[in-house]
């Protein structure tokens, strides 16, 4: 009755007697093991059945006959289920198999044999490998912008679950290949492969499969590599000798594609594992290749952008403040953090000396990023020129307005322009937040009279204010990035800034700005700034100095 029941089971079932001989196998088991009758199976020692396969446990360690659950059970050892990978030495087909053994006992508890259920879990296991290789590579590709390291990680992630060997070669614009990563289960074979590649005869001719994949962007699969194939591929005896030692069984070369271009190839091979690649393996490798290609391309773009940004930044960041006789100066500059990490913004300040008199322009170009950065350069260069041609705050602003109006786009710039004298400043405003003067007693004044923003109105003119400054008084210029800084309690706001400054009477410019920086950081809770922050503080030194 049991026999009948087992025969209709889809699961493969075998029974061993207490001596270890297989005494029963159902139809599914016979089909699975490749036998046509139980008699044929019984006549074949189970060790020799196993010898037809390359058998490993799920961690890639060789699995011996003595370690399979039924054999262990009959020896009286614990017999946990075993998940094994078996590759047919003849066909290269791979199967994942779960072996579960149960003891068969009579009523007296005497051991009658071991019943083993053989479950083919290849579909589940292959899907799992696929998912984990992709997930692992996805994590690696996202993790690091150093693509050499990333590609080494990707090659390692493919070995041994997908292949015994994985190499990544990038191709440059001249068509030169560069090996960036290679990984093999067997380090000795990796060395051998390196020797092979260094042979003078191992050049990549246009008919080489790697060259073809680069040229066509189409994968190539050599499912079964024969001795004849090796002989044909070999350029000479030495080459052939190494190829034979490597002993590849199956090989695939997949392109690393970005739109319109193949930037490299991934080569995957099996040898010792005896596995044969299938179109599904090629598909998975192609996915890896695509992902790796995107990561490389992103990293390269990022490198280019960083170079541009660094160059721009060195030009755009405000220079160190000059020494201005009679005045103490300090500045605070924090560019907004952008996703490109181009730390340049639209805030600027520039101090220029002309015939013994110091001029300063403190401003903010609307917008962000490269466009704002370019206009900032224009405003700073314009300031240096205008201060020499027409050294009056209102006239300097008029020149900057003219320069900005000639630019296309709707860019605006707000600015304060000042001319520093011993006991006063002449200040003009072009739509910029008013500067705040902190007196010795903590009272505040805001200057100067507002004037029109730069780049907006063709007929504009700018008023000039004479602002008396007594020694010890502090004047603070700031951009709207300060007051618009967002925190949990809304925006920082001009009232909070005023309140902060009223507590700073008598302090030196540098210490006031250090405190303000800390205050802003605390206000945002340490979050990134969304707009540039620039502040310059000046204090007239006592006359005696």
């Amino acid at each position: 009755m049991f026999n009948e029941l087992f025969e209709i089971l889809a699961e493969a079932v075998t029974v061993r007697d207490p001596d270890g001989a297989i005494v029963y196998a159902n139809a599914a088991a016979l089909a699975y093991l490749g036998f046509s009758s139980v008699e044929e199976l019984k006549a074949t020692p189970s060790q020799s059945i196993m010898d037809d396969y390359l058998v490993e446990d799920e961690h890639g360690r060789p699995l011996r006959h003595s370690e399979i659950p039924s054999v262990r059970m009959l020896r009286g050892e614990p017999s946990e289920p075993v998940l094994m990978r078996a590759v047919s030495r003849s066909s290269g087909e791979q199967r994942w198999t779960l072996l579960k053994t149960t003891a068969l006992r009579d009523e007296a508890g005497e051991l009658l044999g071991a019943l083993t259920v053989i479950e083919d879990v290849s579909a589940v296991k292959n899907a799992e490998i696929r998912t984990s290789v992709l997930a692992e590579s996805g994590r690696m590709l996202a993790a690091d912008l150093d693509y050499h390291q990333t590609l080494r990680n990707v090659a390692e992630s493919a070995v041994p679950s997908l292949a015994d060997y994985c190499a990544v070669d990038l191709v440059d614009e001249q068509g030169q290949m560069e090996r960036v990563a290679a990984c093999h289960r067997d380090p000795a074979k990796l060395e051998l492969e390196t020797t092979l590649r260094e042979l003078p005869t191992a050049r990549l001719e246009p008919d080489h499969p790697v060259s073809r994949v680069v040229a066509t962007g189409t994968s190539e699969l050599f499912a079964e590599i024969t001795t004849a194939d090796l002989e044909e591929a070999a350029r000479d005896e030495r080459h052939l000798g190494i190829l034979r030692q490597l002993g590849p069984r199956s090989l695939m070369i997949v392109p690393m594609r970005v739109p319109n271009r193949t930037i490299g190839v991934m080569t995957l091979a099996t040898d010792a594992s005896q596995r044969r690649f299938h179109p599904e393996d090629v598909e998975l490798a192609e996915q890896l290749g695509r992902r790796a290609a995107v990561a490389v391309e992103n990293a390269r773009l990022h490198t280019k952008l960083s170079e541009i940004a660094t160059t721009l930044q060195s030009v755009l960041l405000p220079r160190e403040l000059p020494e201005i006789p009679g005045w103490e100066l300090a500045s605070l500059y924090r560019p907004a953090e952008t996703d490109l990490r181009i730390d340049v913004g639209g805030d600027f300040y520039e101090f220029v000396e002309h015939e013994g008199t110091w001029f300063g322009v403190f401003g903010d170009v609307t917008g962000k990023g490269i466009q704002a950065a370019a206009l900032t350069t224009l405003m700073r260069a314009g300031t240096r020129v205008a201060c020499r041609i027409d050294p009056q705050p209102a006239a300097i602003l008029a020149r900057l307005d003219e320069a900005l109006a000639q630019e296309s786009g709707n860019a605006l710039c707000t600015a304060l322009c000042m001319c520093l004298h011993r006991d006063h400043m002449v200040i003009s405003s072009a739509g910029h937040p008013q500067a705040i003067i902190v007196s010795a007693d903590g009272s505040l004044r805001e200057v100067p009279t507002p004037g029109p923003v730069l780049g907006a109105f063709p007929d504009a003119t700018w008023p000039e204010d004479n602002v008396a400054m007594t020694p010890g008084e502090l004047i603070v210029f700031y951009t709207d990035g300060v007051t618009e800084t967002a925190g949990e309690g809304g925006r920082f706001g001009v009232d909070r800034l005023r309140e902060f400054l009223s507590r700073q009477a008598g302090s030196a410019p540098a210490s006031v700005l250090n405190l303000l920086d800390a205050e802003l950081t605390e206000f945002t809770g340490g979050a990134a700034l969304t707009d540039d922050v620039a502040v310059v503080a000046l204090r007239a030194r006592p006359r005696s100095e």
Partner: protein, 98 residues
């Protein structure tokens, strides 16, 4: 006449969308941007208003704004826009003036 009523915050993030609406609105003989319910405007927002003003002047069309709350008005005053743009106290005022 086309009226664009703004609410929330007009900053770098939202200015591009307004720019688009202004482009379409400038096909009308009169474009009104109602700032009365706008909570916040920054310099990018101002630049959209200035661009609308410049375009309207060039095309010989009318462009007006309805005044906003204190922060918005402060910035309009500070940058000189208040004197140069046509600013109405309320939308009704503009509608009745035809």
């Amino acid at each position: 006449m086309r009226v664009l009523k703004l609410s929330g915050e007009l900053d770098v993030a939202s200015s591009a969308a307004l720019e688009q609406s202004v482009d379409e609105g400038l096909d009308y003989d009169r474009l009104v941007i109602d700032l009365s319910e706008l909570e916040f405007i920054d310099s990018t927002g101002l630049s959209v208003l200035v661009a609308a003003h410049q375009q309207a002047v060039a095309d010989g069309r009318e462009f007006c704004v309805v005044q906003g709350p204190a922060q918005v008005q402060r910035l309009l005053a500070l940058t000189g826009l208040e004197q140069r743009l046509t600013v109405a106290d309320t939308l009704e005022q503009l509608l009745t003036s035809g």
